[in-house]
Structures are given as structure tokens and as C-alpha cells.
């Protein structure tokens, strides 16, 4: 079977000094460098380079990007078609979707073609041209698959659709016909007969008659011959699928007509004009004559369809392959060997869908095409699922391949997400793996990625991305940002760390940063004890600032009694209590004062830090004395206040 041999691509500037190539996978590219794996050996004389090898993001990319995004919309729409709708209705939907895909391909082709024509550079024109020819091939194959598999035309309609297919892909006839008809003397034009014959070969009898009529008006003496030909062309039966005539009736009519054409040949009716004689031979489907028109037909599949038109217009789908194979052999001859495209088309005529897909995958090396086409065919229930070794099917394999490729693109990766979503077996795990690698260049991009993960409950990826962002913010000393990312990551340990940094900052600067964030922590505060303390401590400061002293006092006390505050900070808290104790008004109640006192004593009864300097120890004991005094004074005033009966 078809094997595509791979020829090595050469990297300029490598392999001169050292013969080994080292490499490393990158996102969408490969780094390659000269090296020597045999670790002993001559030292490198030259200055080594690294080479980054990638697909050329080239001139066609902006246009192809449109193809990717528009086909993405069609794909997503297709997935939404409900399973429970009866299949009869669905067929027309599928055909319509197939046509949508094809029109997107054609639009893309046209734009590329315009660019090819308008560009000044010869090499750019070639690049555009190459891409156009690839898309042409793709659309040709897709169209045939639509006719044979999706629309699944029965005998009668089948040939008509194949004719349409051929006509669509041989548009030069129209251009030539226009040229001839618009010339001063069409009948004398050198391409005149080519046009007539081409039209006949495509079954466009009315148009052929129109062009022929130009000739007839000139030659009065042979007008009867032309009239005869005109008659044959006019009476050629064309099957009408929507009409009342059955296929059998059509067949009878066609056979009569065919016999009439044959009679003309036997009678030498057209002997006087070799062109008309040729046309008549075509009408009876004479193979040798058809083959003589090789240049006008230009492809074996045109030959096939023309041959069928004039010998078996009621061809049934299962019989198609026999004619296809023989047509190809006849047309190509013994010397020429079929190209990959020919093999693919032949497999389609043989209704071997899997072979078509396989050959397209190999020959075209183009995941976009096989992925979308296979997906559509799968929705039409045309593929039996091949069980792969890990239980997925062909459609999913191809869609995963395509989407994985999209993922390395800096903006198209978002399209890939939808494709993964519609791969039930492995889509999720592929997405999990690849979405983590999307570079988090900006906060906005990170949030975009996060939303995708959160929507899909990919909690590990959410956590990881938030952690990465938190760590990055912390490195750059943006504590507020680090904290919000940490909360989103639900990372308790990191939250503790950042809270401690906040508190450190506070003790260095005397004020809090990121007040907005701290004031609005809400339930997130509960993530870690340190964070809870930070939030509450800030709340204390806020209450104090708003002069809501008794609330502030209560909060401050609870921070110690509820053990929210770490012991190391109790002295700071007690010191914070001093201004409250020194207010004219009594703020702390008797009970509260007793509690504060016991906190102070608890603090002093604990193990003393041995690493305090004498000076520090002095400061500590002075503070303690001050507190004791303030507390005692407050106690006195509180007792008096509470003992006084208001009269």
C-alpha cells in the first residue's frame, strides 16, 4: 500500500563541528543543537548554536486561521444536534453541514488565490498556489464523500450528483466558453469545438446546443446536420429525481435515445463533419472516443463520470467501484502509476471509508481535514468503531490529534478546548495535560485559562495555576496579588506564609498594604489560622479607626482568648490595647480586664526567649509594667462604673 517516504530536512549550520544532534521538545517546536554524546572526544572548536525548528508560521496563516475558527463553529454546532431526532430529518442537516464546511474551504481558497494573483513575489505566489492546490484536493475529496456517503444518493440521482461534482471541479470550461462566445466570430474561434465537446462531456447539453447554434447559422448547407445533432442533444433524457418517472421508465427512454444515436452513427449521418461525428460517438459512450478526449477530460474521474453518463446513467452505488477501477486504468494507461489523490478517490468509489480516512491521514498529513470529515461521518453513523488498544475510536483519535496541534498556537488554543470537550474518552485528560502548559503571560490570560478549568471542575489544574501565579507575585513582592491567588488556589500553607509576610510588613511599616483585599476576605479568611488572624487584626484596626472602640476592644480580646492570634504576637496585641485602656471612657469591662490581665500573666509565665539581648529584655519588662499599670487603672475605673447605680 501507499507509503510516504520521509526525506531528511537539513538544518543549516549544524553538523560541521560535531556529528551528533541533541534536541529538546518545545511548545510547537523542537530545539536542535550540535553535540557529542560520546563524552570523551575532541573539544568543540567553534561557537555552538542552538537551532529552533518549527513549522513556518507563514504567509497563509492569517487566512488559514479563518478556516480554523469558522470550521470550529460548524463543529460545535454539529455536536449539538440531538441524538433523538429521527435520522431521516438528520440527513438533510448533515448534508447542509457538509456544504457549510465546503464553503468555508472554498472561501479560504478564493482568498488565497487572490493573494497568489496579486502578490509581486514569485516565491510567495508559489506558496499561496501550493496551499490552494492542497485545499482544492481536500474539497474535491470532501465533496465526493458528501455525495457518496452523506447524501448517499441512490441510482439515478447518483450520476447527477457526480456530474455536479465534476462540473464544480472543472471550472475552466466556463471560462473558455465565455471567451469563445464573446469573441467576434465564435464559430471560427480555435477553442470552439473544444468548448462544445467539453460541454457535452459534462452533460451540459443545453449549453452545448447554444454554442453549436453559432455554427449552424453560418453553414446553411450543413444546417440539417446541425439540426440533427441539436435534436439528439435536446432529446437526451435526464433523470428527474423529484419527478413522477420511475427509474425503470427513465431507463427505457434512455435506451431508445441511445439506440437513436447509434443509428446516426451507423447511417453515417455526421460523416460530413468529423467534430459532429466525434460528438455522436461520445453520446453513444464509445470508450475509444472518450479516451481520445483525454486532454479535455484531464482527469480519470471526469472520464469515469462521462463514461457512466453515456453508458450507465442509472448506475447503482455498489457497482460504481468496478467502473472506477477500470476507468482509472484506462485513462492512466499502463505506464503511469496512480497518485495518492487517485488512490483516495478510488477508495471512496469503492465505499471503503476507513481506507479513505487512512490514506488522507498519511498522504495529506493534515489533521484538520480528516478530523472534521471523520467527525461528520461518525455523526452520520457511517463508521464502525474500531476499538483501539486504549478503547477510543477513530473519530476521537483524529479530533484529539487536531486539537493537540491547535493547542500550541498562541491564540487558537482556545478553539481546541471545545474539541477536547467533545471527546468523551480522553478529551478531558488531554485537556488537563495541555492546558497547564499555556503560558500565563498576563493576569488576564491566567484568568481566562482558569475559567476554562473551573468550568470543567479541573480542580488540580486550578490549584496549580493559582499557585504558580501566587508564587510569581510573591517573588515580585506583590503581597496582595499573591494572597488573592493563594486564596483561589485554596492553599492553606501558602496562605499562612503570605499572612506572615503581611504581618511582617505591618510591623516594619506600621500600616497594612492592600486594604481592599484584607477588608473583603470574607469566608476565605478561614483558609488558614494565620490568614484568619490577619483579617481579624486588620478589622480591629479598622474598627479603631472608625472609633467603634467597644467593638474593637471585644475583637482584640477575642483574638487572644479564642487563640486566633499566635502567641508571638500577643505582646503586640496587648500593646495595641493600651490606647483603649487610656481613653477617658472605660471601654474594657471588669471581666474583660481580668481576661487581659490573665493573658498578660500567661505570656510572662511562658519560657523566656533566651536570645533576647539585655536591652530587649529591659524593653519587654518595661512594656509589661506599663500594661499592668494601665490594666489596674482600668480595672479600678471599670469596677466603679459597673458598681454605680444610674439614678
Amino acid at each position: 500500500k501507499q507509503e510516504v517516504t520521509v526525506s531528511p530536512r537539513l538544518i543549516p549550520g549544524a553538523g560541521f563541528y560535531q556529528k551528533h544532534l541533541g534536541f529538546e521538545w518545545g511548545p510547537g517546536d523542537l530545539i536542535v543543537y550540535e553535540t557529542n554524546y560520546k563524552l570523551q572526544g575532541p573539544r568543540s572548536a567553534g561557537s555552538p548554536s542552538v537551532h529552533i525548528v518549527r513549522r513556518d508560521e507563514d504567509i497563509c496563516s492569517p487566512i488559514l486561521r479563518k478556516l480554523f475558527s469558522e470550521s470550529h463553529l460548524i463543529f460545535v454546532g454539529l455536536q449539538k444536534i440531538k441524538e433523538d431526532v429521527p435520522s431521516k430529518n438528520k440527513k438533510s442537516q448533515f448534508v447542509s453541514i457538509s456544504k457549510n464546511y465546503r464553503s468555508v474551504i472554498r472561501a479560504c481558497m478564493e482568498e488565497l488565490q487572490q493573494n497568489a494573483v496579486s502578490t509581486q513575489s514569485g516565491s510567495l505566489a508559489s506558496q499561496y498556489g501550493d496551499q490552494v492546490s492542497i485545499l482544492l484536493a481536500i474539497e474535491l475529496i470532501w465533496n465526493l464523500c458528501e455525495v457518496l456517503f452523506i447524501d448517499a444518493a441512490p441510482a439515478g440521482s447518483l450520476l447527477l450528483q457526480l456530474l455536479d461534482w465534476v462540473r464544480l471541479h472543472k471550472s475552466d470550461v466556463d471560462a473558455k466558453a465565455r471567451e469563445v462566445l464573446q469573441s467576434d466570430s465564435p464559430a471560427q474561434h480555435q477553442s470552439y469545438w473544444d468548448v462544445v465537446i467539453s460541454l457535452v462531456l459534462q452533460g451540459r447539453t443545453d449549453e452545448a446546443r447554444q454554442v453549436l447554434s453559432k455554427q449552424a447559422s453560418l453553414r446553411a448547407e450543413s444546417s440539417s446536420v446541425f439540426k440533427r445533432m441539436d435534436g439528439l442533444l435536446q432529446t437526451m433524457p435526464i433523470f428527474n429525481p423529484t419527478g413522477t418517472q420511475t427509474l425503470t421508465e427513465f431507463e427505457v427512454k434512455w435506451r431508445h435515445w441511445h439506440e437513436e444515436c447509434d443509428r446516426c452513427l451507423q447511417d453515417n449521418t455526421f460523416a460530413s463533419n468529423r467534430h459532429l461525428e466525434t460528438i455522436c460517438k461520445i453520446l453513444v459512450g464509445d470508450e475509444d472516443t472518450l479516451l481520445e478526449q483525454k486532454e479535455l477530460l484531464s482527469t480519470w474521474y471526469h472520464f469515469l463520470v462521462t463514461r457512466l453518463l453515456f453508458t450507465h446513467p442509472t448506475i447503482k452505488p455498489p457497482d460504481l467501484h468496478y467502473y472506477a477501477q477500470s476507468s482509472m486504468n484506462m485513462f492512466l494507461g499502463p505506464r503511469a502509476s496512480p497518485e495518492p489523490l487517485d488512490i483516495i478517490l478510488l477508495s471512496a468509489f469503492e465505499f471503503d471509508l476507513h481506507q479513505v480516512i487512512k490514506d488522507c491521514s498519511i498522504a495529506l498529513n493534515n489533521w484538520w481535514f480528516v478530523a472534521h470529515l471523520t467527525d461528520l461521518l461518525d455523526h452520520c453513523k457511517l463508521l464502525q468503531s474500531h476499538n483501539l488498544h486504549f478503547g477510543s475510536n477513530l473519530r476521537e483519535f483524529l479530533v484529539l490529534e487536531y486539537a493537540s496541534g491547535l493547542f500550541t498556537h498562541h491564540s487558537l488554543w482556545q478553539l481546541a478546548v471545545d474539541y477536547f470537550d467533545h471527546c468523551p474518552e480522553f478529551g478531558r485528560v488531554y485537556l488537563e495535560l495541555q492546558i497547564e502548559r499555556v503560558p500565563l503571560d498576563t493576569e488576564r490570560k491566567a484568568i481566562k485559562v482558569l475559567r476554562i478549568c473551573e468550568d470543567r471542575q479541573m480542580s488540580e489544574q486550578v490549584r496549580s495555576i493559582c499557585k504558580i501565579m501566587a508564587k510569581r507575585a510573591l517573588r515580585n513582592n506583590r503581597l496582595g496579588s499573591a494572597l488573592s491567588w493563594t486564596i483561589r488556589a485554596k492553599d492553606a500553607a501558602f496562605a499562612t506564609l503570605i499572612s506572615e509576610r503581611f504581618l511582617q510588613d505591618y510591623s516594619n511599616k506600621g500600616s497594612f498594604t492592600d486594604l481592599d483585599l484584607l477588608d473583603n476576605l470574607g469566608p476565605a479568611m478561614l483558609l488558614s489560622d494565620s490568614l484568619t488572624f490577619l483579617g481579624k487584626y486588620r478589622e480591629f484596626h479598622r474598627l479603631y479607626g472608625e472609633k467603634r472602640f467597644s467593638e474593637a476592644a471585644r475583637l482584640l480580646l477575642s483574638l487572644m482568648t479564642a487563640k486566633i492570634a499566635p502567641r508571638s504576637l500577643w505582646m503586640t496585641l496587648l500593646t495595641d490595647a493600651l490606647p483603649l485602656l487610656e481613653q477617658k471612657e472605660v471601654i474594657f469591662s471588669v471581666d474583660q480586664t481580668y481576661e487581659l490581665m490573665s493573658c498578660l500573666e500567661e505570656l510572662n509565665s511562658g519560657t523566656k526567649h533566651s536570645n533576647l539581648t539585655d536591652q530587649d529584655e529591659d524593653i519587654e519588662s518595661t512594656k509589661t509594667e506599663l500594661l499592668r499599670l494601665a490594666l489596674a487603672r482600668n480595672l479600678t475605673m471599670a469596677i466603679v462604673k459597673e458598681g454605680t447605680i444610674e439614678t
Binding site: 538544518i11 544532534l21 521538545w25 561557537s47 513549522r55 489523490l341 483501539l388 508564587k471 517573588r475
Partner: protein, 365 residues
């Protein structure tokens, strides 16, 4: 079409390893000139060297990035018998303007008695763990218990492989169905111990690593080894660079009794074997989705291998140096195929729908 852009790496001697960071925006190179260089990809898509410093007193064999969850951390290993951990310090503002960053050494691991041949971080779900292997046949697993303090590392495990080790690979799977697993390759030419790939598995009960499998069919020196990303499969895939490229499938077998201790038993199958390099294969590496394997051999080629949906593997690409001295332009140069000059290639594929060639719709991944 493929294009290659060359960047002058400016190392004074052979480059032995290049490593992309997790997001592909930074790159580290290491060399026999004893230094490591870090490169950053700018918004313009160009690579700039943002740090270059001497890391060891011998050739630096490998360099690797930790997961970005742990910050900007690198590890390197060297002929000088040590491995080192480096952390990037956010510099002064004028450094940032000059596009320079600073890396400081957090720790040096000196336990090896011989050249340290490979260094790898374990999968992130295991915490911040670093693994080295040496020519003295020992695999060492270190852990930093406090991820905020990278100067404290403790040697948690020493695995004696009895053969000189050349490469290690962790199974990246974080699935709870698989305990941590590490594969070790040996380039020892010793014929007494003939299996040159050993697989060790962590045992929750004994808290130790025990040997689960030796690939006895790999008898030639092994130069590189790599597990494929797991992707929800129940089995493991391991690629090996030896006298050819070999891909193994390791299928965990069900335990006989629920509480049987000891490592998992595996059924080992060869998924593919390629001898196209026709010589020693030195490196193998999977791409991120494990859809492509790349290998590099004595024939000076890098080959790309791909399995189709029927699991048939074939070569889908070959890269080779053109043997010319350094391309100084720094511009992206189109790669010609062997024997066909670039300009001619563009003409060759043109014209009718009948000819097909590699489509630009295919992204290289």
C-alpha cells in the same frame, strides 16, 4: 515547510543539554565550559540570554527546571561529582532594565563518588524532590521539606543499582492507582548483570523503593530513558535509547491477594523497535501529548516517530545538520529536503490538485 532559526549560544565548549521550562518561555543550556545559561523568550518572540554563570568545576551534563509551582528553580549535574540547585533572585531594578537576572546556588549535593550523569525533578505531586544518578551506580532521591527554603535538602533514598547509571526517568502519572515509579538506565558494559533497565517502585508500607522489574531483553548500554505522559491509560509506556529505539508497554498485573506486599508485577511488551538510526541511539524524548517520540543517534539524525490509530508506528520526520559551518544570519532559514534545493521545492509541489504535499495546515507538535 519547516524553518530553523539559529541562536548563537555563546558557550565556549560543547553543549550537552538544553531544557525548556514548563511553559516553554525560558530555556537553560549547559556545557563543557562548566557554565549554565538561561534564555528568556521576549514578547517579540526572540530569545535573549538573561543569565550566564559558572556552575561546576567540570563539564555540566544535564540541566533541568523544577515545576513553576516551586518558583524559578534549576538543577544541574556534572562530571565534578556534584549536583546543584539554583534559584533565581528577583534583582535590582537596573538589572531588570538591562534584561539580566541572578541565580544563586541553594545547595550542592556531594554524595556521589563519581560523575553525576543525570538529574531530574520528581513529579510535582510528590513535593519538591530531586533525583540524581551517577556512574557509581547509585540513584539518590533528595527532598526539600520546606519549599520556601531551598537550601535544606535531605537525602531520602539511596538506590544501589549495581551498574553504572546513565539516565533516569520518573513516571509522570499522579494517579493514585500507581505508586511513584522510577526507571533507571545503565550504560555499563558489564555482562553479568545483563538487564540494563531497572524499574523501582515506592512502597507505602516499607517507605522504601524496591525493584519492580528489570528489562532483561535490553542487554546493550542504555543512554537515555523516558516515560510517556500517562493520559489516563492503565499501563505505562517507556521509551529507551540503546543500540536502537525501543518502546515498552508495562502492564501492571493484578495482585493475587489484597494485602500482598512487594512491588507491582508487570507484563512487559515491546510496542515498537526502530533501528533506522543504524547505530547507537543517544536520546529519546516524548512530546507533551505523547503522540510523538523523537530520537537522536550516531547517524547524526533526529527522527520523529508516530503511532497511527491502529498503533502502527512509523517515522514521520527526520532532521539532520547540513554539515555547513554556523549560519550566522540568525534569520529563520527554510529547511530544504535532502537533494532538493529550497527554491525548487516550492515549484515541485505546485499546480494541479493531483499533487499532494505536506500541508501547512499541519502544525508541528
Amino acid at each position: 515547510m519547516f524553518v530553523a532559526k539559529s541562536i548563537a549560544a555563546d558557550h565556549k565548549d560543547l553543549i550537552h543539554d538544553v531544557s525548556y521550562d514548563f511553559h516553554g518561555r525560558r530555556m537553560a543550556t549547559c556545557s563543557s565550559d562548566q557554565s549554565v545559561k538561561v534564555w528568556d523568550k521576549g514578547d517579540d518572540g526572540e530569545w535573549h540570554c538573561t543569565a550566564s554563570w559558572k556552575t561546576h568545576s567540570g563539564s555540566v551534563w544535564r540541566v533541568t527546571w523544577a515545576h513553576p509551582e516551586f518558583g524559578q528553580v534549576l538543577a544541574s549535574c556534572s562530571f565534578d561529582r556534584t549536583a546543584a540547585v539554583w534559584e533565581e533572585i528577583v534583582g535590582e531594578s537596573n538589572d531588570k532594565q538591562r534584561g539580566q537576572s541572578h541565580w544563586i546556588k541553594r545547595t550542592t549535593l556531594v554524595d556521589s563518588r563519581t560523575s553525576v550523569t543525570d538529574v531530574k525533578f520528581a513529579p510535582k505531586h510528590m513535593g519538591l524532590m530531586l533525583t540524581t544518578c551517577s556512574a557509581d551506580g547509585v540513584v539518590r532521591i533528595y527532598e526539600a521539606p520546606d519549599v520556601m527554603n531551598l537550601s535544606q535538602w535531605s537525602l531520602q533514598h539511596e538506590i544501589s543499582c549495581k551498574l553504572s547509571c546513565s539516565c533516569i526517568s520518573w513516571n509522570p502519572s499522579s494517579s493514585r492507582a500507581h505508586p511513584p515509579m522510577i526507571a533507571v538506565g545503565s550504560d555499563d558494559s558489564n555482562i553479568t548483570y545483563s538487564g540494563k533497565v531497572q524499574i523501582y517502585e515506592y512502597n507505602e508500607n516499607t517507605r522504601k523503593y524496591a525493584k519492580a522489574e528489570t528489562l532483561m531483553t535490553v542487554t546493550d548500554p542504555v543512554h537515555d530513558i523516558t516515560f510517556a505522559p500517562n493520559l489516563g491509560r492503565s499501563f505505562h509506556v517507556l521509551a529507551i535509547a540503546t543500540k536502537d529505539v525501543r518502546i515498552f508497554k508495562l502492564i501492571p498485573m493484578r495482585r493475587e491477594s489484597a494485602n500482598s506486599s512487594g512491588p507491582t508485577k508487570f507484563e512487559v511488551q515491546v510496542m515498537a523497535q526502530f533501528d533506522s538510526h543504524n547505530s547507537q541511539v543517544w536520546r529519546v524524548s516524548w512530546n507533551i501529548t505523547s503522540t510523538l517520540l523523537a530520537s537522536s543517534g550516531d547517524d547524526g539524525c533526529v527522527r520523529l516517530w508516530k503511532a497511527n490509530y491502529m498503533d502502527n508506528w512509523k517515522c514521520t520526520g527526520i532532521l539532520r545538520g547540513d554539515g555547513s559551518p554556523v549560519n550566522g544570519s540568525g534569520h529563520a532559514a527554510a529547511l530544504s529536503a535532502v537533494g532538493v534545493p529550497v527554491a525548487a521545492q516550492m515549484v515541485v509541489g505546485a499546480a494541479s490538485a493531483g499533487r499532494l504535499k505536506h500541508s501547512m495546515l499541519q502544525y508541528f507538535y
